[in-house]
Symmetry: C2
Subunit: 203 residues, 2 copies
């Protein structure tokens, strides 16, 4: 059962999503979002400490439901591990290297140093949950003998790092020119191959 | 033989290093650096397009000579591959997650979006050269049968990603609290083990 405050939280995320969509991040204000909900700015700030955190959570909520669908389809289809990781990998890259998420990661990085707690709040809203879900999936593969037993949290971090390996500098140095779908597929394949070679059970 | 302009470039880097050391990045100005060299600001800008690029190159020049020493000692000592990659790994993590380099990476990320060419210039000064050196080392291991044959550039990117895997979010979300030497050693070991499992020649 969802509590009243969870329902309110979801309502805020939905309304904020609409305002951000209409106005963009720069154009949108906490006042506008509060107005569209018919609540006070104080109420809004009681749920989200800043516009940055709110924007990040809007993005992560959308990404989260997309990711849950991916995790579900992997479970339901009982895909072979290589196919499952390939699909998951392409989704992760597409998410992290979309214009919106890169913009907010950039913003966070310059803002988080100044605002204590902002970075942590966003980490908990995004990467921490994704890490948890990936660790569980990999643990399942370890327990069913498809991967060798090891620390599933480290394995999940290694997997994400391999997936990002050919992209991260494009982001960090702002040299990316549009999202290349074919490159996404190729790099996900190379990362998946390397991960499986590293984590497959020894013969 | 070094050309006159290379010598001038080195002189600028050395003088700038001193000014940045004395005044910090924020406190230092291009005018001061020019004055300490007895040249005009225009000359300075002819070599380095901005204070950010100059600062980055000062850091990378220092890091570069440290890295060259590492690469040399790996070659000279003919260390076993696992030990060599462990040493290299710890150096890379120590470099990328030092306060100075994180500060400039943060700065770049917020500045590079606005200034065309800044990100590319910094990428060429740092990661591109490191990638080149690591690729060559891995290519050597591939050619001597210590690693399986594959694209050495991709392998170098995979290695760096694995090394950074347990650190990158601490940086991106500004949640790191001081550099932990023991954690550096452990994470380098886990990354090296995963990399060797992925890239060792098949039995």
């Amino acid at each position: 059962m969802r509590t009243k405050s969870e329902a309110r939280r979801s309502a805020i995320l939905m309304a904020a999503g609409q305002v951000f969509h209409d106005q963009g991040f720069e154009g949108a204000s906490m006042a506008q979002i509060a107005m569209s909900l018919g609540c006070s700015k104080a109420t809004l700030y009681a749920y989200f400490e800043s516009k940055e955190v709110l924007f990040y959570e809007v993005l992560m909520t959308a990404a989260g439901s997309q990711m849950r669908e991916t995790f579900n389809s992997i479970e339901n289809l009982s895909l072979p591990i290589h196919d499952a990781l390939q699909i998951l990998g392409e989704q992760i890259i597409s998410l992290l290297y979309s214009e919106e998420v890169m913009a907010v990661r950039r913003l966070l990085l310059s803002a988080a140093g100044r605002k204590a707690g902002l970075g942590k709040a966003c980490y908990e809203a995004g990467p921490a949950q994704f890490l948890e879900a990936t660790s569980l999936l990999l643990k399942h593969y370890m327990d069913t003998g498809k991967l060798r037993q090891s620390d599933s949290r480290v394995a999940a971090l290694h997997l994400r790092a391999l997936l990002e390996s050919e992209w991260i500098d494009l982001f960090l140095f702002s040299t990316m020119q549009g999202f290349d779908q074919a490159f996404c597929k190729e790099t996900a394949t190379r990362a998946t191959d390397a991960f499986l070679a590293a984590y497959s059970p020894t013969q």
